[in-house]
């Protein structure tokens, strides 16, 4: 009897706490969604272009979106720049990161640990420091300002080998006995990679492509420095930010919202489709470091 009562008490307690948690989760979700809701609403506002005190537009319309692609607007160019950069970086960076992480995970060569420690130390320097010299070198090569796209691709891809941690963690989990079995059967190291490891590594390949593709959409520092105030060479982050400067915001605020929505839609949808790979990478990589 007593025991049953205690049981009942536990159950009601549990129900109460679950209800509280549900309410909390709803509140959290609302907080998380509000900014995105606002930005979408304001992108449809027609009656004014500056910041206002309300969220729901008085007059709805697609004027802001049309203005993005009107004559003389740089937005399509920025979008194209970023897209080209993202595609190239996604392919090249994935290749480099996979080479690096696979090697560091599978091979035991002499300088391996020293190399890893060296890269760890290198990573402690603020990468921004290299901006000055990279800008000057790119400028000599003619890859800045309006031509910033190839320059940026070069900069993003070149040092990407240092971001090997997550995928190395993944390769570490593939049993080494697989390699050894194949080696005994006479496969070369290269054949082991193509025929045995690659098919197993699909999740980490997708994770690497996804993160590499998304990074250029959000990079501000390098893109801004390399483009050097020439709008033809901006990416979306630098371009949209330029619309929020003090002298432009009154005319361009709603346009910024529309531009932001157009960037967020494809990237966000792509991410949502592939999120299970992302989750796997993040949860696995964080623990193994």
């Amino acid at each position: 009897m007593n025991n049953e009562k205690r049981h009942m008490g536990m159950r009601t307690l549990n129900a109460v706490s679950n209800t509280t948690i549900h309410i909390l989760l709803v509140i959290i979700s609302i907080i998380w969604i509000i900014p995105f809701f606002c930005i979408v609403m304001q992108s449809f506002r027609v009656e004014s272009t500056h910041m206002v005190s309300y969220v729901i537009p008085h007059t709805w319309g697609l004027d802001n979106y049309k203005n993005l692609f009107a004559e003389g607007s740089f937005y399509p160019k920025w979008y194209l720049n970023t897209f080209i950069i993202a595609i190239f970086v996604a392919v090249l960076q994935t290749l480099i990161v996979l080479c690096m992480s696979y090697t560091l995970s599978r091979f035991r060569f002499k300088i391996r640990t020293k190399l890893m420690r060296f890269m760890l130390i290198l990573g402690m320097f603020p990468g921004m420091l290299t901006l000055i010299i990279l800008y000057n070198v790119l400028k000599d090569l003619g890859l800045t300002e309006a031509n910033s796209v190839p320059g940026l691709i070069l900069v993003y891809v070149a040092s990407s080998g240092m971001g090997y941690y997550v995928s190395k963690g993944f390769f570490d989990t593939i049993p080494k006995s697989l390699d050894e079995a194949a080696r005994v059967d006479g496969a070369t190291r290269a054949q082991v990679l193509y025929k045995i490891i690659m098919p197993l590594a699909k999740p980490i390949v997708i994770y690497t492509i996804l993160t590499a593709f998304m990074a250029p959409w959000g990079d501000y520092v390098f893109a801004q420095y390399v483009a050097h105030l020439v709008p033809d060479g901006y990416n979306v982050a630098v371009g949209l930010n330029s619309w929020l400067s003090l002298d432009q915001i009154a005319n361009n605020y709603t346009k910024f919202c529309a531009g932001g929505v157009l960037v967020a839609l494809p990237v966000g949808i792509l991410f949502m489709c592939l999120q299970k790979y992302y989750v796997e990478g993040v949860t696995g990589g964080a623990v193994k470091g």
């Binding site: 549900h22 959290i28 979700s29 420091l129 570490d172 959000g218 501000y220 982050a237």
Partner: protein, 551 residues
């Protein structure tokens, strides 16, 4: 996210970590020597409070030792380095004395020995490298190297010509450019790297001669060029794979960083741009300017101190608020009986899916003086003048600082939620079951099992988060741009109250009056702070794992 994935992750790293964790629980912290050390049994006999005090103290007692270890390690490293060079030199000499004539010729003509012994491909590569090196040094390298100590003698020259045409006299100014300090430094650094590479190759060349002699003496055959090529996809496959990534890192990270470290010892700024006015070596003056108190002019050390303090405070709060709240949210979502788990997760993941700059810029404008929040509050009559979220410098701009940390929570919780979910699923269920049988309450289970487990496993992750937050450029720069301006520190490259060292650095190289050498000094100081924190904490962490454990 499907549970199947999480189960997979659980499977991947379950056993080992759990065992290590249990070991960690049962033994007191290592590395404590200067205070009374308890054995396992004695430790268990302590009261709860004593245990806490013991653990707390042992953490801090370990710090000086870790710092000491850090410097001892550096000293040992340097000693080892020189000992290594000594060994190499001795080997070079003995190889020369003992080697045959082919080896001896190879000291001057690289690759000669290899070619003479039939390894034509290898030998030609060595020879080619030597020829390229010598040609480069004679044509340009020597010049850059000779200019390196002075960084150039003459900057831009203005030539004024007086021209008389049609009875009018006009002065025409033409400019003649001479030396370029920037290029001298850049190509000087390149040349130094090239020389180091040459010495290394020369050393490899000698070593190869030595091994070749040995192999031939023992009656075996040397590898042919074909074998060498084949080994590139087999035994030496790692070299093939690493060639491209490491070249990229060398050219685009190592050399630029080396260059920038050198810049810290010059006076490269907007007044000495290296072309119109040359810059020159300036010794430790940049560091002096940054680190010593000056009453006249711009007080950089005051700015540095204030920004460093805020950087550390920011990194601490940004890391731990996200960590605990993220874990809390993950536990709420994963609790039994909570519905629509997938929906909650998806909503949170939205902030990761949408490029950060959009959300950051939008939220920044939302809270600006004439942004949505202020305008709405004014409309409703709740306030009479806008709240200066980003513009109120009162009390050291405490409002802006709190806002930045809160918005960072909004940005950061989803990541932590994902990480924490993975780890929480990984806690062995039997720990909870036995706790339940013993009648432990929910809070007890959390504080005795969940939290220690999380802290144990995520120790290194927390450390990288901390140093990552110290250099979190995007959040600060896109949210506040460093605002509100710090009137006290005006002149030091427009420092704001919420500026981190990294955004300050960016302002120094990006403004209208860039001070590159000071930016380099700040960069080096950031490195020192990050390195010291990392090494000290890493030495203390109980969960520093042996890499092979996971394989």
């Amino acid at each position: 996210m499907t549970p199947a994935i999480l189960l997979k992750i659980k499977g991947k790293m379950g056993g080992q970590t759990a065992r290590k964790f249990r070991q960690g629980l049962s033994s007191p912290q290592k590395g404590v020597e200067s205070m009374k050390k308890y054995s396992d049994l004695e430790f268990l006999r302590l009261s709860k409070w004593q245990k806490f005090v013991y653990k707390f103290l042992s953490f801090f007692v370990a710090i000086p030792k870790a710092i000491l270890n850090f410097f001892v390690g550096i000293g040992k490293g340097i000693a080892k380095f020189f000992a290594g060079i000594g060994r190499e030199l001795a080997d070079v000499v003995t190889t020369f004395v003992k080697g045959d004539w082919k080896t001896k010729v190879s000291y001057v003509i690289m690759g000669f020995g290899s070619i003479a012994r039939g390894q034509v491909l290898r030998g030609l590569m060595f020879l080619l490298f030597e020829v390229v090196f010598i040609v480069y040094m004679i044509t340009t390298g020597g010049y850059w190297l000779s200019m390196l100590p002075s960084l150039g003698h003459q900057g831009r020259e203005t030539i004024v010509e007086t021209v008389t045409k049609f009875g009018r006299t006009t002065e025409i100014e033409t400019f003649q450019y001479h030396d370029n300090s920037f290029k001298i430094l850049l190509y000087g650094v390149l040349t130094i790297f090239f020389i180091v590479a040459f010495i290394y190759t020369w050393r490899v060349n000698i070593k190869q001669n030595k091994t070749a002699e040995k192999i031939l003496k023992s009656g075996k055959k040397l590898k042919s060029g074909k074998d060498d090529l084949r080994s590139l996809v087999d035994d030496n496959f790692h070299r093939t794979l690493l060639a491209l990534p490491l070249t990229g890192i060398l050219v685009f990270t190592v050399m630029p960083l080396f260059f920038m470290i050198l810049v810290a010892f010059t006076n490269y700024d907007y007044q000495h741009d290296g072309l119109i006015n040359l810059f020159s070596w300036n010794g430790l003056n940049g560091f002096k300017q940054m680190l010593t108190w000056s009453s006249g002019g711009v007080n950089y050390s005051a700015a540095f101190g204030e920004i460093l303090t805020w950087t550390l405070i920011w990194a601490f709060f940004a890391t731990f608020t996200n960590y605990f709240l993220g874990m809390f949210v993950a536990m709420m979502i994963n609790k039994k009986g909570i519905r629509l788990k997938k929906l909650w997760r998806t909503i949170l993941i939205l902030t990761i899916a949408i490029p950060q700059f959009i959300s950051l810029l939008y939220v920044s404008k939302m809270f600006s003086d004439n942004g949505l929040i202020n305008l709405a509050l004014l409309d409703m009559g709740w306030i009479t003048k806008p709240i200066g979220f980003w513009s109120d410098p009162a009390n050291g701009a405490i409002l802006s600082k709190i806002m930045v940390i809160i918005i960072n929570i909004w940005i950061g919780i989803p990541y932590l939620m994902l990480v924490a979910t993975g780890i929480l699923m990984n806690i062995p269920a039997d720990l909870y079951e036995s706790a339940k049988i013993d009648g432990a309450s929910g809070w007890k289970q959390f504080s005795k099992i969940t939290l220690p487990y999380m802290l144990f496993i995520t120790g290194p992750y927390l450390l990288t988060q901390f140093t990552g937050n110290m250099n979190n450029f995007n959040v600060i720069y896109l949210l506040t741009g460093g605002a509100p301006t710090n009137a006290k520190l005006s002149g030091a490259s427009a420092v704001g109250h919420t500026d981190l060292l990294i955004t300050w650095l960016f302002k120094m190289i990006n403004g209208t009056e860039p001070k590159y050498y000071l930016a380099s000094v700040v960069g080096i100081l950031v490195f020192i702070v990050v390195a010291v924190i990392s090494l000290v904490v890493y030495g203390i962490l109980p969960s520093v794992k042996n890499e092979e454990d996971f394989q």
